[in-house]
C-alpha cells in the first residue's frame, strides 16, 4: 500500500539521518526484565499482553488492508448493499474478545495478589518525598539521610550551563547518597511526603507508588541474590519545578556488605548528634561508596 510504503520510507530516511554517528545508542526499546523476584513476572505479563495485541492487530489490520485493496472502486468493486448485519458474526466478535480478556485477567490478577502480599519483610525503610529530594529512614536502625541529585548533574542541568549532558556519567540519574538495601531479603518501603505528591519508581525493581502527604503507602521488593548493583529511577509524579531532578538510586549489596554499611552509618554512642548530622556530608558519601 502507498500509505504503508510512504510511512516506511519516511521512517527509514529519518533513521538513516539520525543513526549516522556510530556510537548512537538505539537501545531501550522495551521494558527492563528487572532484578527483583517479581520484576521478571511483570515483564512476562507485559510481553504476553503485547503479543496478544500484536496477533489481534495483525488479524484486524490484515482484514482492513485486504478490504482497502480488494474492494476499491477503481478495481471495479461493486458494493454489496445488502450486507447490513450478521448476528452470527456479531456474537463471534463479541465473545472472542471476552474470552481473551478473561484469559489475560487470570495471570494479571495472580501477579497482582503476589505484589500486594507485603508479609514477612525483613528490612523496613521509610521514604519521605520533599520538593525535590528523598529522605530515607532505616526503621529501628537509627539511620537516616537525604538523597539529592548529584552535583555534576545539577551543574550540567542548569539552563544554558554549557556542559554537555552526555559528558556527565548517569546524567540526572545519580545521587549523593543512594538507598542501600541487602539483596535476597524482602525490603519493605513505607512511603510518605512532606509537601506535595511524589512517586517512588525504580524500573529494575518494578515498583512504583505515590508518596502522599499525610498518608503512608507501602510497597516491597526483593532483589535477586545474585543481582547486587546500582539501580536507578526517578520521581514519577509531577511535583513542581524540579520534578525532573529528584532521582532515586538503589544500591543493592550482599547481606554482609549491607550489614557493614549499616554499622558504619550508625551514630557512635559518644557523639550521636554529630554523626546523625553527618548523614549528608561528603565524608558519609565516601564511606557508603565502599
Amino acid at each position: 500500500m502507498l500509505r504503508k510504503s510512504a510511512f516506511l520510507g519516511a521512517a527509514a530516511a529519518a533513521l538513516a539521518v539520525l543513526a549516522a554517528p556510530a556510537q548512537a545508542a538505539w537501545t531501550g526499546l522495551n521494558m527492563t526484565r528487572g532484578v527483583s523476584t517479581l520484576s521478571g513476572e511483570i515483564y512476562s505479563l507485559h510481553m504476553l499482553i503485547f503479543w496478544v495485541c500484536t496477533v489481534i492487530g495483525i488479524l484486524v489490520f490484515g482484514v482492513m488492508i485486504f478490504s482497502l485493496v480488494k474492494f476499491r472502486k477503481s478495481q471495479g468493486a461493486v458494493p454489496d448493499t445488502q450486507l447490513l448485519h450478521s448476528t452470527k458474526a456479531e456474537i463471534i466478535w463479541t465473545a472472542i474478545p471476552v474470552v481473551i480478556l478473561v484469559l489475560m485477567a487470570v495471570p494479571a490478577a495472580r501477579t497482582l495478589i503476589r505484589i500486594e502480599d507485603a508479609s514477612n519483610t525483613e528490612v523496613t525503610i521509610k521514604v519521605t518525598g520533599y520538593q525535590w529530594k528523598w529522605q530515607y529512614d532505616y526503621i529501628d536502625e537509627n539511620v537516616s539521610f537525604f538523597s539529592t541529585l548529584s552535583r555534576d548533574s545539577d551543574a550540567a542541568r542548569q539552563l544554558d550551563s554549557g556542559v554537555d549532558p552526555k559528558s556527565v556519567p548517569d546524567y540526572l540519574l545519580s545521587v549523593d547518597n543512594p538507598l542501600v538495601v541487602p539483596v535476597g531479603k524482602k525490603v519493605r518501603i513505607l512511603l510518605t511526603s512532606q509537601d506535595v505528591i511524589h512517586a517512588w519508581w525504580v524500573p529494575a525493581l518494578a515498583v512504583k507508588k505515590d508518596a502522599i502527604p499525610g498518608m503512608m503507602n507501602e510497597l516491597w521488593f526483593q532483589v535477586q541474590p545474585d543481582k547486587a548493583g546500582l539501580y536507578r529511577g526517578q520521581c514519577a509524579e509531577l511535583c513542581g519545578r524540579d520534578h525532573g531532578f529528584m532521582p532515586i538510586v538503589v544500591d543493592a549489596k550482599s547481606p554482609a556488605d549491607y550489614a557493614a554499611w549499616l554499622a558504619s552509618k550508625k551514630p557512635v554512642a559518644a557523639e550521636p548528634a554529630a554523626a546523625a548530622a553527618a548523614g549528608g556530608t561528603p565524608l558519609a558519601v565516601a564511606a557508603s561508596a565502599n
Binding site: A14, H46, M64, Q158, V207, P213, G214, L238
Partner: protein, 540 residues
C-alpha cells in the same frame, strides 16, 4: 462564512429571515443561527489548536536534546499544563460542539437548535474563559504548572494563576453543559416526523450519549475545583490530611469526571467515522443497532473505570482488581465498533477522498491507541507504565489520530456542504499524508521512551533517551508545520472553487445531503417530506 444563496430553494423562500444579518456584530455576536454558531465554534477551535500546538512545539523543542536549552523547568511545566487544557477544553470539545451545531439540525430535519439564545451564550462564554486562562501567562507566577489534572497539594502552589484557572474552568464547564442541554433537547424534541431515534445518523447518536456524559460529569469537575478553591482561600481541608481530608479523594473525584471526559472527546469521533466510512464504501453502515448499543455501553462503562488513572496511589487489592476488569471490559464494545467499521468496508466500493483517508487513518491508529490502552489496564504492568511516556504515547494516539483526525475528516466531509464549493483535493491529500507520517514519527517512539523508563512531564532527561526524543521532536515539528495546510484549504474553499453538488459525494446518504449546497441559512424550516426522510435516513 457561506453567504446564503438559498433563493433557489422554494421551501424556504417565504421564510421570514432571508439571509444572515448584514452588520458584523448582528451577524456574529448576536447570532442565534446554528450554522453561524457552528462556524464560530469551529473557528475558535482552530485558533486553539494552533495556540495549544505552539505550546507543544515549545515542549518538543526543549526535549529535542538532553540538557536545558530554551526554557525554565517551571515554564516547561506551564506548557504541558496549558497545552492539555487548551487542546481538551479549547480545541477538541468546541470543535465537536461546532460540528454538532452545524450538522445535527440538518441531519434530523430540524430548522435550528432547540435553544438558540442559549446556544449563542454557550459559545460566547468560551472566548472570555480562554482569554482569562491564557492571560495567566502574564502573571508573575506564570500560568498554571501543576498539570491539567490539578492534583492538590501541588495545584494549590499555583499562585495567582490558580483562582484564574479555576474560574476559567468553571466558565468552560457552564458552556459545555449548555451546549449539551441544547443537543439533548434538539435531538429529543426537534426531529422531523418520521426521523425516529433508531433512524438517526450515528453522529447524532454518539453526540446524544456524549451530551448525557457531559451533563453528568461537568458538575463533578466544578465541584472538585470549587473544593480546591475553598481549600486554598477559605480554610477548608477537603484534600488536606492535616485537617482530616484526603489528597487522594481529589483524584477520585477528578477522574470520575476525567474518564467520561475522554469518551466525550472520542464518542463524536466514532459518529463522524460511522458517517464517512459508509459514504466512501458506498455501502450502509454494518450493524447500525449494535453500533448504537456499543456506544451506550462505552458511555456506561466510562463511569466505572476511573481509578485506572491512579493505580499507584495505593488502593486496596479488591479495588485494583475491580478497576482492572472493568477497564478490560471496555475493549469489548470498542472492538465491536472497529469490527463493524471493517465490515462496512468489506464488499464495499471504496474510494479515497480526503475524508476517507483521515477516517481510515483513524481506524488504524485509534486501534493502536486501544491496544496500548489494553496493556495499561493490566495493573502489574501499569505499575511500570504509569506516568511514563508510554502513557503519553497512548493518549496521544487516541486523541490526535483519534479525535483530531476525525474532526479533520468531518470538516473535509461537510465543508463543501457548508460553503457550496469543493476544496483543493490535492492540498488536502498532502495535508493528510504529511499528517499521518509525522504523527507516527512523533508519537510512536514515545512508546519506546516510556518502556525504557522515561517519566512524563520532565523538561530534561538522561542521555539514554536522547535518540528517540530527537526523532519524536522532528516528527512534532513536521506535524506542526503540516497543519498549516488545513486553514489554507479551508480559506480557499470559503473564497471559492468548483461548485459542489447537493449530494457532494457519490455515496453520501443523509438528510444534510438532501439540502442545496451551500446549505441555506435557514434549512428545514418546513419538515422534510416523507419521501426525503425515507431516502435520507437509516433504513433497516
Amino acid at each position: 462564512m457561506a453567504h446564503s444563496t438559498h433563493a433557489d430553494h422554494a421551501d424556504h423562500a417565504d421564510h421570514e429571515h432571508h439571509g444572515p444579518p448584514k452588520g458584523f456584530i448582528q451577524r456574529w455576536v448576536m447570532t442565534t443561527n446554528h450554522k453561524d454558531i457552528g462556524t464560530l465554534y469551529m473557528v475558535f477551535a482552530l485558533l486553539m489548536f494552533f495556540i495549544g500546538g505552539s505550546m507543544a512545539m515549545v515542549i518538543r523543542l526543549e526535549l529535542f536534546q538532553p540538557g536545558l536549552q530554551f526554557v525554565d523547568p517551571q515554564f516547561f511545566n506551564s506548557m504541558t499544563t496549558m497545552h492539555a487544557l487548551v487542546m481538551i477544553f479549547g480545541g477538541v470539545m468546541p470543535a465537536w460542539v461546532g460540528l454538532a451545531n452545524w450538522m445535527i439540525p440538518m441531519q434530523v430535519g430540524a430548522p435550528d437548535m432547540a435553544l438558540p439564545r442559549m446556544n449563542n451564550f454557550s459559545f460566547w462564554i468560551l472566548p472570555f474563559a480562554f482569554v482569562l486562562l491564557l492571560s495567566t501567562a502574564f502573571l508573575q507566577s506564570g500560568s498554571p504548572a501543576g498539570g491539567w489534572t490539578l492534583y492538590p497539594p501541588l495545584s494549590l502552589q499555583g499562585g495567582d494563576s490558580f483562582p484564574m484557572a479555576i474560574f476559567a474552568i468553571h466558565m468552560m464547564g457552564i458552556s459545555s453543559i449548555m451546549g449539551a442541554i441544547n443537543v439533548i433537547v434538539t435531538l429529543m424534541n426537534m426531529r422531523a416526523p418520521g426521523v425516529t431515534l433508531l433512524r438517526m445518523p450515528l453522529f447524532c447518536w454518539t453526540w446524544l450519549i456524549t451530551a448525557y456524559l457531559l451533563i453528568l460529569v461537568m458538575p463533578v469537575l466544578a465541584g472538585a475545583v470549587t473544593m480546591l478553591l475553598t481549600d486554598h482561600f477559605f480554610g477548608t481541608t477537603f484534600f488536606n490530611a492535616a485537617g482530616g481530608g484526603d489528597p487522594v479523594m481529589f483524584q477520585h473525584i477528578f477522574w470520575f469526571f476525567g474518564h467520561p471526559e475522554v469518551y466525550i472527546l472520542i464518542l463524536p469521533a466514532f459518529g463522524v467515522v460511522s458517517e464517512i466510512i459508509p459514504t466512501f464504501s458506498r455501502k450502509p453502515l454494518f450493524g447500525y443497532e449494535s453500533m448504537v448499543y456499543a456506544t451506550a455501553s462505552i458511555g456506561f462503562l466510562s463511569f466505572i473505570v476511573w481509578a485506572h488513572h491512579m493505580f499507584t496511589v495505593g488502593m486496596p487489592l479488591a479495588g485494583q482488581l475491580f478497576f482492572m476488569l472493568t477497564t478490560m471490559l471496555i475493549a469489548v464494545p470498542t472492538g465491536v465498533k472497529v469490527f463493524n467499521w471493517t465490515a462496512t468496508m468489506w464488499k464495499g466500493s471504496i474510494t479515497f477522498e480526503p475524508p476517507m483517508l483521515f477516517a481510515v487513518a483513524f481506524l488504524f491508529l485509534f486501534t493502536i491507541g486501544g491496544f496500548s490502552g489494553l496493556m495499561l489496564a493490566i495493573v502489574p504492568a501499569d505499575f511500570q507504565y504509569h506516568d511514563t511516556y508510554f502513557v503519553v504515547a497512548h493518549f496521544h494516539y487516541v486523541l490526535v489520530p483519534g479525535a483530531i483526525f476525525s474532526i479533520m475528516a468531518g470538516v473535509y466531509y461537510w465543508l463543501p456542504k457548508w460553503t457550496g464549493n469543493m476544496y483543493n483535493m490535492a492540498v488536502a491529500k498532502w495535508h493528510f499524508w504529511l499528517s499521518v507520517i509525522f504523527v507516527n514519527v512523533l508519537f510512536f517512539p514515545q512508546h519506546f521512551l516510556g518502556l525504557a523508563g522515561m517519566p512524563r512531564r520532565i523538561p530534561d532527561y538522561s542521555a539514554q533517551f536522547s535518540e528517540w526524543n530527537m526523532v519524536s521532536s522532528l516528527g512534532g515539528f513536521g506535524f506542526g508545520l503540516s497543519q498549516l495546510l488545513f486553514p489554507l484549504v479551508i480559506w480557499q474553499c470559503v473564497k471559492g472553487g468548483q461548485k459542489a453538488t447537493n449530494r457532494v459525494w457519490e455515496g453520501a446518504h443523509g438528510l444534510e445531503w438532501e439540502l442545496p449546497s451551500p446549505a441555506p441559512y435557514h434549512s428545514w424550516a418546513d419538515a422534510p417530506p416523507a419521501e426525503v426522510i425515507a431516502r435520507g435516513t437509516i433504513s433497516h
